[in-house]
Subunit: 240 residues, 2 copies
DNA sequence: CGCCGTGCGTCACTTAATGACATACTGTCG
DNA sequence: CGACAGTATGTCATTAAGTGACGCACGGCG
């Protein structure tokens, strides 16, 4: 293609994101079908209908071509988390909102999700892909940091905010890897369609990883109290 | 080389590790001095006194040359953790053992540590290095998983073990990044020589990230005996 | 219409990375 | 001590990843 008629409008940034995603889809498909090593940049470019130069313009490396599809899933979670009202608990919010988002998912979104899971699974054996996956999680961690910082009323660089974000992102990553493996092993998404149950898992894991500091409702504006260590243990989540 | 006087004995594996570390040192030095992009594989090889072919035999990629020096620090922690007696708390063990280990550190070890910190700091701005750093942390996470699994009396693949390991590794990573930045900003290691205080930080962070499940003494053989030394006021863990 | 900014393709080029083969070193057995 | 096996290294040739420089097509704007 080149040229002309490509899917049109939107900000330059949006168009850029679309192109990246399109390349990423083809890359992921090929990685899954033939393995990473056996897939060349030229092949990816060809499949996506662009020149190799364009591929390298959009991605630092071959493996990083997988990042967009892989990020999609985590990004959805982050988007939901951005709308997390201060007065509600994490579990509450996730259970209702994740289901809602899932309900309105376009079919292309489902395909992307499957593709993303495949990449996550592949990352278990292909070190090159693992770097891409870890970079995607790293990105997620930053976004989580912003959200947590806001919620706790602390600056973004705050060490405590960063540790909580890191712990939360890490458990989300492990859960994603676990779900990915389970989904692909079970042939299909059976049993993992139960979004509310999954949501509770995520909420509980995040809550645990931050020792209850992220997860509870918080006051309308205040930070979480005295900062340090010593946060009294909340009477935690009721068991799922 | 080169040839000749290469450092001698030991297992094949040990020799391999030595060569990797030597290459890694030179690579890190060059990365720091000139930036990653400006450093070629040939340059690294030359500085380390080996052929480029040898460099590629030992490392998947240019950036991953940094992994060994960067891993050293985390590896020291893991080694200490391996000797963590079941009857003692994490804080106790770290405070005494980390100081001991630090005391017996050869001067080369200190230089490596500084180099490692520099790489961690560089990883903040150079995406290529960030992948290496994240891969190193990923490795640490696996080792942590083994240790935690043993301590909790659960199989290695156990989801809970993995989430705890991931959370713990993540907070250790953030702390490392924080310390690295502080050390390099403060010109020198002043204030971060206080190993006991650092140890307490690490212990507390890990303890928090695993919601107290990793950190307490545990019984002689059992899994996490809830009755005994357990969490003072933990509401029950939901059955995963 | 002419002008500018941007994104893409083409081509030439650098260098990261691998394969194939010859050689040198290490430790072992006779 | 000397032949032997295994492994790590070097050299050379080659592929493929990734970059720079340039020209062109497109779309907005006065």
């Amino acid at each position: 293609m080149a040229s002309g008629g490509r899917g049109g409008g939107g900000t330059a940034e949006q168009r850029r994101a679309r192109v990246r995603l399109e390349i990423s889809r083809e890359a992921a498909r090929l990685f899954w079908a033939q393995g990473v090593a056996a897939t060349s940049g030229a092949q990816i470019a060809g499949a996506a209908g662009v020149s190799t130069r364009t591929v390298w313009r959009h991605f630092r490396s071959k493996e990083s071509c997988a990042e967009p599809v892989v990020t999609q899933g985590a990004l959805a979670l982050v988007r939901v988390l951005r709308r997390w009202p201060r007065h509600s608990s994490l579990e509450e919010h996730l259970v209702t909102e994740l289901s809602a988002v899932r309900g309105t998912l376009p079919p292309a979104g489902l395909a992307d999700e499957l593709l993303g899971m495949r990449m996550i699974v592949l990352a278990g054996t292909e070190p090159a892909l693992r770097t891409a996956w870890l970079m995607a999680c790293d990105q997620t961690e930053r976004e989580l940091g912003v959200i947590i910082g806001e919620r706790l009323g602390r600056p973004v660089g705050d060490l405590e905010v960063r540790t909580h974000a890191a712990a939360a992102a890490a458990v989300v990553r492990v859960l994603d890897e676990h779900i990915g493996a389970a989904v692909l092993a079970d042939a299909d998404l059976t049993g993992y369609r139960d979004v509310p149950s999954l949501s509770r898992h995520f909420a509980h894991a995040i809550h645990t990883a931050t020792r209850g500091i992220v997860g509870e409702p918080v006051g309308p504006v205040g930070p979480v109290g005295p900062g340090g260590p010593g946060e009294p243990d909340e009477p935690g989540e009721p068991a799922a």
